[in-house]
Amino acid sequence: MNLLLETKRLSKKFGGLTAVNRVDLSIEEGKITALIGPNGSGKTTFFNLLTGVYPPNEGEILFNHENVTAIRPSQIARKGISRTFQNIQLFQKLTVLENVMIAQDLYCQSTVFGVYFRTKAALKEEREMREGAASFLRLMGLKGMEDQEARNLPYGAQRLLEIARALATRPRLLLLDEPAAGMNTTESGDLMSLIKKIRDQGVTILLVEHDMRVVMGISEHVVVLNFGQKIAEGNPAEVQKDAHVIQAYLGRGKRRA
């Protein structure tokens, strides 16, 4: 099995707070890995480190055996890591189709000159981008909404659009930050089968999620963070039984003393 992503002693401090504390993590290619932990345990900060939003204070990130520590977010995306956000970050006033087309910018070849003179190559590229974007929307079940402004979509559809946009960069590793947040049981059920479908197309997935039904239902490997440190990992069944995990989520029982 190829190790697609490895972090080594990855740390991030904000003032006196160590949000991520020497985390070693390995993700195997082709698997769905979940990152869980109580609120404030450093999951989103960990995502932000992986995608270059902040540089880490310590440690390194290897993506496909290449050191990608502290490079710009756009470079990370170009290397094949794409993400969604916990608080939806769409291009609000642009159309659904445009939102996805923008994510294909990294594949665009046409020049300013080509655009001014409407060269054949530039027009062809534009057409392909449009068709490509439409196919990602179909995959996420957003067909028919192409021309609506992103801000006018219902909440669940906005989450799906963010995933469609992330997929349009054609990533090898997709990071999903609480994709099921705010979804009802039916919606999160659909989401689970969608995530599996994406994995089956060869995209490795790392997700942060609070909905345990989703986490336990689709992930093959679970990593638990608490106060910025990795406290457990394993398959879902193992993690559920782990004493540290139970303690982190439910607190320490009094009788134990």
């Binding site: 995608t51 939003v53 710009r72 977010p73 756009s74 995306a77 170009r78 794409s82 993400r83 956000f85 970050q89 769409l90 291009f91 609000q92 006033k93 642009l94 445009e98 087309m101 923008i102 994510a103 910018d105 990294l106 665009c108 046409s110 300013v112 655009v115 001014y116 409407r118 530039a122 590229e125 534009e126 981008m129 946009r165 992330a166 349009a168 960069t169």
Partner: protein, 315 residues
């Protein structure tokens, strides 16, 4: 309906010199130059979402470049105007660079300072720029033995470059470049996350915008045939910014309308004598209060005028 209207406008503007008196035609020529400035500033402010209060600097760079080339080296206008655009383009890259580090109010201060620096340089580099006296006797463009002296003939040169600016900008903004600019305006963090190299696009927006402003500068210089630093003040930068805001940020035709309104309105308020500036100011305030997304958005409420092709409004 829209096509008919467009052709009507085209014929109208083509025929203007045939029936419009000298002074109004001169005003329309001025409007044309400001159309280029406004449309170009809109690329940076309305589309890429970067505030700029130094647009007059690029106007100046274009004007001085092509004037000096013409006066000192006898280079014809037709080459000089593109040289002016090119040098201005380079200056645009220079101003684009700080946008990578500062934004919003800080960026507006940086751009104001840039504008002031360029103006100070024009005043103080006397041996090159002629200092406060400026440059005299800038030759009129010519084709063969025909010289574009009168506003009636020069009008067509301005019309040509204004249309060139409008339609090439629309093409640019409808392409991958326009989408990338808009993505920065809408959500820079998300743009980076999906692989948009925001630094490259911000500098590109400034550079292309400056190129057009350089063309406008060269047109202005050869039209009035005399330039000095007073034509390129902070006030000019503010005027252009007001045009694009009044017209509707992020819409090319909005900028065109804004250029007309802001250039012509004071002229038609002259009858109010000493009060006209106050009335003009009050008018602008009212427009901003009641039409926050600009004149063009108000026009879009007329169904047949609705078109998203020329731009995307901010609010």
């Amino acid at each position: 309906m829209k096509k008919v209207f467009a052709w009507f406008l085209f014929v109208f503007f083509l025929s203007l010199p045939l029936w419009l008196p000298h002074y109004p035609l001169h005003l329309v020529c001025t409007v044309g130059i400001f159309v280029i400035l406004a449309v170009s500033l809109n690329i940076v402010v309305g589309f890429a979402g970067q505030i700029s209060l130094g647009h007059a600097a690029f106007f100046a760079v274009g004007a001085y470049t092509s004037s000096l080339l013409a006066v000192k080296f006898g280079i014809p206008f037709w080459i000089g105007i593109f040289a002016g655009g090119f040098v201005s383009f380079l200056f645009g890259i220079l101003l684009g660079a700080p946008t990578l580090r500062v934004r919003d109010i800080y960026l507006s201060v940086v751009t104001i300072c840039f504008g002031l620096m360029v103006q100070l340089a024009l005043v103080n580099l006397e041996s090159i720029t002629g200092g406060a006296r400026g440059i005299y006797g800038i030759p009129r463009p010519s084709i063969g033995s025909f010289v574009f002296v009168s506003p009636q003939s020069f009008y067509y040169i301005i019309l040509f470059f204004a249309l060139l600016t409008i339609f090439s900008t629309i093409r640019l903004l409808r392409s991958r470049f326009g989408r990338a600019f808009l993505s920065i305006r809408e959500n820079e963090m998300a743009a980076e996350a999906v692989g948009v190299r925001t630094t490259y696009y911000k500098i590109l927006a400034f550079a292309l915008s400056s190129f057009y402003a350089g063309l406008a500068g060269s047109l202005y210089a050869h039209y009035v045939s005399y330039i000095n630093p007073d034509a390129f003040t902070f006030g000019t930068s503010v005027d252009v910014l007001v045009m694009i805001v009044i017209g509707g940020l992020g819409n090319v035709w909005g900028s065109v309308i804004g250029a007309f309104v802001i250039t012509l309105l004071p002229e038609y308020l002259r009858f109010m004598q000493q009060y006209y500036r106050a009335v003009f100011g009050l008018g602008l305030i009212l427009m901003m209060v009641f039409m926050r997304s600009g004149i063009i958005s108000a026009l879009y409420k007329v169904p047949w005028a609705r078109s998203r092709s020329a731009g995307r409004e901010t609010e």
